[in-house]
Symmetry: none
Subunit: 213 residues, 4 copies
């Protein structure tokens, strides 16, 4: 615990690293808000720094360029969503009947989008601006999904699991994501329909295979 015990005895100085972390978070929060408000292109690094009360020079010490802020935001969310997905990879969950399981999953994901409205804004920009990042993100989610699937239905081949996960992540994800922006009534119905879509899809797969869950 160096940095001297004597010197500058008055003001306590927060460990540098902690201060940095705080700043980075503040930058990300501000950037997210601004991206949501007017889009990535309209936001300026200067304004982000100003609102985050961080000198522009410091911002560039944390992020090599503007795009990196968006990337960091995306990473933050991918981690978060992945964690949420893993929530559904527990014995209690997996023992539920398929329909119920998917109901939980569908609602859980919708819930996630409600909790993090920034997800939408961030990935809209990402999809357009950095397809690779978007791809990578989805790949992760698909992988997570693929690792859950065999527990729902044992006899799925790796190939099948990948494709099914792809379809689920993209279709279900997209639908729930879009539903967010809709009127409450329609939105509620959309969640139900999304469940219907997912259930019947997976159910059809189940019936086409020898053993079922």
């Amino acid at each position: 615990m160096e940095k001297s015990s004597k010197a500058t005895p008055g003001r306590w100085r927060k460990p540098k690293q902690a201060r940095s972390l705080e700043r980075v978070e503040r930058i990300l929060d501000v950037a997210e808000a601004m991206f949501m408000e007017n889009g990535y292109a309209a936001a300026t690094t200067k304004e982000i720094a100003a609102q985050a009360e961080v000198p522009i020079g410091s911002l560039y010490q944390f992020f090599p360029d503007k795009a990196a802020i968006l990337e960091a935001l995306a990473a933050r969310y991918t981690d978060l969503l992945n964690q949420r997905l893993q929530t559904f990879d527990t014995p209690e969950m997996l023992q539920l009947p398929l329909s119920d399981y998917l109901k939980q999953l569908t609602e859980g994901i919708e819930q996630f989008f409600v909790e993090y409205p920034g997800y939408r804004a961030v990935f809209m920009e990402i999809t357009t601006t950095m397809p690779e990042v978007d791809e990578a993100n989805d790949a992760k989610l698909i992988e997570t999904m693929a690792s859950i699937l065999p527990k729902l239905h044992a006899s799925l081949s790796l190939e099948d699991r990948k494709v099914i996960s792809f379809v689920l992540v993209k279709a279900v994800g997209n639908l729930l994501w879009i539903s967010l922006g809709q009127e409450p009534d329609l939105r509620q119905r959309l969640v139900i329909e999304t469940h219907r879509l997912a259930f019947n899809y997976l159910n059809a797969w189940r019936q086409s295979l020898p053993s079922t869950k």
Copy 2:
């Protein structure tokens, strides 16, 4: 039925309007290519004009600003896709068994995306930059879809048709659209899976209702 037999025998003069239309088309084509290449933000009006061999001033006579070019591109595609959708609103099509019908539809839409790879790039930008336009575009497609549905299943309520169309347009559209960027093998499988998704979804609806097709 020539454009005059006697007068102005020498140089043939293209009607003004035709020349303008040609220019507008050229601008749109060039812009589309550039938007696909590096994105909307990276494209410059100056370069678009140059490549389209149209003076920049003329470009601004046709389009009030850069965004208007993107909008026009979107409108062009919405019309095109709508027309394609209407292709499936014929007696011959509608008499097919549901599965076959959806196979045609799925493949037809995929085909469309193959034919017009610009669709993707354009609507990616649109979704981010001009959500209203995107909304309007989807609304049109959903409406068209909703007008086809009752012929597939008579007893659907208006409300149901709207929701189902929404789900189909968004999920199927998104899936096929994304599949475009995938490896051929995966892509082929995705088209099949999309069909499976759509069929089982609609089939579930059918079975939950009194009379069926």
Copy 3:
């Protein structure tokens, strides 16, 4: 007074020249309004033509360039103001006591500015943009004034008349002109003060010379 009795028996066509005059007037009126609204620089020839319902090409047949419109406006006003000034060069007027004469003059000029609020806008631009034109305009007014002065006081030398006219035109003109933009109360007082200024100035001259009016 037709323009031929036989030819083009159907629609009557207004003599070309008359139509042109009308158009020119319309252009000037519209231009004046626009110059007053947002200034000369902000007005565009295209918009002037559009509002005057005259094709832009025609506008350029009447006026070689944009500046010419401003010049024409100035000329229109110079003539008008000169005429108004000549109103004070009548035997009845000139027999009035100096104070009364100047009261009439002051109020008459103020009245003119009220009648033609465009005068202000036009000459503001002119002064800045085309000092020569402004100079010429003032020179005319000064000359007119100088031709009236000897009737008020016979023994003024040409040199004196010129200087006095200069002072009167510039100071009185400016003051009345500015007063236009003031609150009614202040404006009324300014007219009175302008008269006081002019009267005491001329009166001082009178007393410094041998014979008086």
Copy 4:
């Protein structure tokens, strides 16, 4: 009290602020010259920056837009003229006979216009382009004048002082200002006439009131 005797003994570093101030001054000087040469509209920010040897980006750090340069110029002159006016608000000056006092004042102002020929160009543009700024500027001068007047004549009401100051500032100011552009002979006479105008105006006021200076 040197800027440190020990530390950084080598290169002397001009304080940041000083450098900025210098740049701002240079920009203003260059802009003034260009506005005088061809008018505000003809001057370009790019050229101003180039001649001032300041990057265009820096120019825009000091001034939000082109108009702000003109405004700054106006403010600079208003301050200057106000200071000059205050020169006439001293006991020695105020004890002079009215005629002598006004002679000093008239010549002092004329002198000012000679010293700062840019004043004319700047306020010509300002009057047209930003009447509010012009108004504010004149209001300041009028106020200063009004604060001097009671010392010339004690029994003037506030209302009277305001109007008299208005007349003096506008008429005398305008006359002297215009005289600048005239031939030397005429100019000299105009200064004399301006004095005559002002003196007889104020003198008339004096005689109409009970006590005099």
